[in-house]
């Protein structure tokens, strides 16, 4: 304890502080003495010192806040007490007077309310989204007991991978912590006949107990029957799909629908508001794990979802599952070697990285709110100083401190109420703006449910009223200590020392708080710019892509269709090149498998590298503008079933396997069906991104569709000859000519595919930049305010200096150095904070050192510029003060 007076006395500093808040003279002194006496009667020790501090706080509160609000009931000083009026009349009168006074000063009102609207609007918007996404529970029964099961291969840095049905069945049987376990296959494309036309829709394949496990209810129907399976398929419709395509007709349950050429019974409609794994589905098709295969017959393709037994923690379940899985690795070494099981709370799986991004935004917006508060405080303080004379005059005319304090409080409440109201309005608009952009960019599962509701409104109200009251009380407390005689004299023109210190401190705080925001904004923007600059390896301009699906056709039929289609397309006017690929870059990760040099296999299977597997047809490389580096591309009619198996690899494959050597003619063994076939490299193309713009380039193997028609769908890519060519009608006509029943879906220009791929970092960067910009603006305004005010206070001094010959530059320098000193201190403190923030931002950034000195310097420079601008105007004004005016003013 530093504030003690010897060992036994009351805390000295708080006693002095209290003394300044009590009435002057004997009254205050005797109250202090009473408190001392009681302090002396309490048992010695730290308890009584805390007691003293608490009592002192309460006394100060009573004298500083309660009493002024209450008034003394004395009539006639200036009529404000309203003598015989009852309570409600008094309150209405008080509010009315406050509103009138606020309206008398529109400039101040606009700046104060504007600042609050910015701060509250931004804070409430972000808080609303976060409230909806992070704080509301998922729409499942007891979501705390739900976990997801995925597999990981740490050696190859694979996590969150889908699992194998055999592995999941063995886990269900072996792990006691799982009460139930269900499986789901995401995003399966299906062809559905609606109104006698074929349409492609995304569907999920789920085990029959999936919905009961989640506790999801059916809106219509009873759900899957006991016998639902792949062999006896049933489907459940998603609520949106049911409304859009069946007009919400409840009688569809029990009818059948043609899905992938097979008649399937509709067993129910899932209740609305259901999303799993951020994945959209039109309907859910039944499968059972047993009939899809096991570790010896099939691969990994489903996610497991389990409900934990009551009282079991996620960690306990994880450990038990890992133990069982270790046994599965031993039992099926060929299939499971190197793999591990991951058990995660369902929240983590669904929200994923989004969660951290949102928390960072919330922190940023909290900082902005703090800056806004500091600014409002500054404004109130400045105004209180401007009005010292007014207050002093009124005090000497008989107004009591209570009356004046009530007046200040009334104005503060009116202002902050206005700010809060408009802020919530701004938040309402802001939330909709964010929500409208978020689903694509952030893929937030629950954002459509977010609205400005009860808790959010309460939050906004608390923030605005809290800010207003807090910052009205400070000047009100200061007012009580003023001596009207001194204030009315010459020295009363300027602010008191304490006020100046407080306001300078607030500026330092604002600058320090803005720095991390600015650094964060610059970092996210820079990493975003890197993403834009990242070369996807494709020439996207004018290229149109679309998806075609021939599910249910034989591979010969499919090959014939795709070859003829791409050839026909290429023959059309306006089409320079056309081709197709199974997984379009940036649209999905696609299939991948392990491979090795056929003629030099690695000793251990674990050392096999992994490559993306792509099937292409037509002139795909030309259509996408992917340059051929060596050898040749595929040849229609030559590279077919029965002819030597050939592949084209990307540069990364060639460089990793045969650095510095000629790759053409070399052979690969590929873990894709059989390892016996040697695939001969006939060509090498340049690298292309796959899943994301910022991923590391990895090996990619292209097969000719005519040799390996693995997948029924393809994405066609068409490059036009001129910019004005409308490619879609050409595609539609061509497809209709060959087979009018083939549906065309996902028609997207390749430029949009690339743009969507960077939508999320762009959103983060944009939001951060807006927040940081607002912060810098507010800090700049605050700085401007303080400086013009100190200049105004020194008008006389500056005038005298100029009168006795100081030149303008010197005065300019003096004011500038005062302002820049404040900014400098703020920048030093802020830089420290920025380094900490940078580390937190790591997860959002691409290949950038998070404590990058260039970024920090840029932020400091940016801030310096704003600060300089804010200082210059008042400084320049100071040099223009004619001595005559200065003297009069003084």
């Amino acid at each position: 304890m530093t504030d003690g007076e010897g060992r036994g006395g009351p805390p000295r500093r708080i006693r002095a502080w209290l003394g300044r808040r009590l009435p002057r003279g004997t009254v205050g002194a005797s109250i202090l003495a009473d408190l001392d006496e009681e302090f002396g009667q309490r048992p010695r020790g730290s308890a009584r010192r805390w007691w003293y501090r608490w009592e002192a706080l309460r006394l100060a509160f009573a004298y500083g806040v309660i009493e002024p609000l209450r008034g003394d009931g004395r009539r006639g000083t200036n009529g404000y007490d309203g003598g015989g009026m009852n309570g409600m009349e008094r309150i209405f009168g008080w509010v009315g007077r406050s509103v009138r006074r606020v309206r008398r000063d529109p400039g101040f009102t606009a700046v104060a309310v504007g600042t609050m609207v910015l701060g509250i609007g931004a804070a409430v918007s972000i808080f609303t989204v976060i409230n909806a996404v992070l704080l509301q529970p998922l729409p499942y029964a007891e979501p705390d007991r739900l976990v997801t099961l995925t597999e990981a291969d740490p050696a190859r840095e694979v996590t969150g991978n889908v699992s194998n049905p055999g592995n999941l069945l063995d886990l269900e049987a072996g792990v006691g912590a799982f009460e139930e376990l269900a499986g789901i296959v995401l995003a399966q494309s299906t062809l559905v006949r609606l109104d006698d036309r074929m349409n492609e829709f995304p569907a999920q394949y789920v085990t029959p107990d999936f919905f009961t496990l989640l506790g999801m209810e059916m809106a219509v129907g009873a759900g899957f029957s006991e016998t639902a399976s792949m062999a006896q398929p049933e489907i459940l419709l998603a609520h949106d799909f049911w409304e859009q395509h069946f007009g919400a007709d409840p009688t569809v349950v029990g009818q059948s629908l043609e899905v992938n050429g097979q008649a399937v019974t509709i067993s129910g409609v899932v209740a609305p508001g259901y999303v799993v794994f951020q994945d959209e589905a039109a309907f859910y098709v039944s499968i059972t794990m047993a009939e899809t295969g096991d570790q010896t017959s099939t691969g990994r393709f489903l996610y497991g979802v389990a409900r934990l037994a009551p009282g079991v923690s996620v960690e306990q379940a994880r450990q038990e599952a890992q133990g069982v899985f270790a046994g599965l690795v031993e039992a099926y070494p060929d299939f499971n070697a190197g793999w591990e099981i991951e058990v995660r709370a369902i929240d983590d799986q669904i929200l994923g990285d989004t969660r951290q991004g949102l928390w960072i935004l919330l922190a940023a917006v909290g900082v902005l709110l703090l800056i806004a508060c500091a600014n409002v405080a500054n404004l109130f303080l400045a105004r209180a100083t401007e009005r010292r004379q007014e207050m002093a005059v009124r005090t000497s005319l008989g107004a009591t401190g209570g009356v004046l304090a009530r007046q200040l409080l009334g104005e503060a409440i009116v202002l902050s109420g206005l700010g809060g109201l408009l802020g919530v309005g701004a938040a309402w608009v802001g939330t909709r703006m964010i929500a409208a952009r978020l689903p694509a960019a952030f893929a937030l599962p629950r954002v459509e449910e977010s609205g400005v509701d009860g808790p959010v409104l309460l939050f906004a109200l608390a923030v605005s009223i809290g800010t207003g009251l807090l910052f009205a009380i400070v000047p009100a407390l200061q007012l009580r200590r003023e001596d009207p005689a001194r204030t009315l004299g010459a020295e009363g023109r300027g602010p008191s020392r304490g006020t100046l210190r407080l306001r300078s401190g607030l500026i330092v705080l604002e600058v320090a708080l803005s720095m991390p925001l600015l650094v964060g904004a610059i970092l996210t923007t820079r990493s975003f710019v890197e993403l834009i600059r990242a070369d996807p390896g494709i020439e996207t301009e004018g290229v149109l892509t679309a998806r075609l699906n021939l599910v249910g056709r034989s591979s010969e039929e499919r090959t014939r269709f795709y070859e003829r289609m791409t050839a026909d397309l290429q023959a059309r006017d306006g089409v320079e090149a056309a081709g197709a690929i199974t997984f379009l870059p940036l649209l999905s990760w696609g299939a991948a498998t392990s491979f090795h040099d056929y003629d030099a296999p690695p000793a251990s299977r674990e050392d096999w590298p992994v490559a993306d597997m792509r099937n292409v047809t037509g002139d795909y490389f030309a259509a996408m503008g992917i340059p051929l580096i060596a050898g040749r591309g595929f040849e229609r009619g030559a590279d077919v079933q029965g002819s030597p198996p050939v592949i084209v690899v990307n540069r990364a494959t060639a460089e990793s396997l045969w650095p510095g050597l000629d790759p053409i003619g070399r052979r690969l063994a590929i873990n894709w069906g059989d390892l016996e076939t040697p695939w001969v490299v006939v060509g090498v193309v340049d690298d292309v991104v796959q899943g994301a713009m910022d991923e590391e380039t990895r090996p990619k193997v292209y097969h000719h569709y005519a040799q390996t028609a693995h997948f029924p769908w393809m994405h066609v890519a068409m490059r036009p000859i001129g910019a004005e060519v409308d490619l879609l009608p050409i595609l539609e006509a061509t497809v209709a000519e060959i087979d009018p029943t083939v549906p065309i879906s996902q028609v997207i220009p390749m430029e949009d595919v690339v743009r969507d791929a960077i939508a999320r970092p762009r959103m983060t960067a944009a939001l951060m930049f807006v927040l940081a910009g607002l912060a810098a603006l507010l800090a700049g305004v605050g700085l401007y305010g303080v400086l013009s005010w100190t200049v105004a206070r020194r008008v006389r001094e500056i005038g005298v200096r100029i009168a006795i010959g100081a030149d303008g530059r010197r005065v300019l320098r003096m004011v500038l150095s005062q302002g820049m000193t404040l900014v400098g201190v703020g920048l030093v403190v802020g830089t420290g904070a920025a380094f900490v923030v940078g580390r937190t931002l790591q997860s959002l950034l691409t290949d950038l050192s998070t404590t990058d000195p260039v970024t920090v310097a840029a932020a400091a420079l940016f801030f310096g510029a704003i600060a300089l601008a804010a200082c210059l105007v008042p400084a320049w004004r100071a040099t223009r003060i004619p001595p005559s005016v200065a003297m009069r003013e003084g």
Binding site: A29, S30, L32, A33, L35, D36, A62, E67, R70, D72
Partner: protein
Amino acid sequence: MSPNAFLGEFEQMVLLAILQQSKAPYALEVRREIEASAGRTVSRGAFYTTLDRLERKGMLEWREDPTPPEGRRTGPLRRFSVTPAGRRALAQTRAALETLWRGLDLEAREG
């Protein structure tokens, strides 16, 4: 002199507690008296601000006691007494209340 002659509950308690003491009491004695007879703790802030208010209304006055009691080491000591205006206000308040109470028997009805 005193247009607001009607006293609040706590104001009455303070004035009555002063009158209860044989000799003009000081603040701590008044507070203790209220706490003892009313059986409730009294907020220090409310207590002192009420004393100030009653003084401003002219219902009580104080003088400084140059000989502080034992255990009092610091500061001045104020001894309070109720002014004639204060006594009048108490009497008026009581009379007004008694008028209002006339004929009422709340306890019996509460049962």
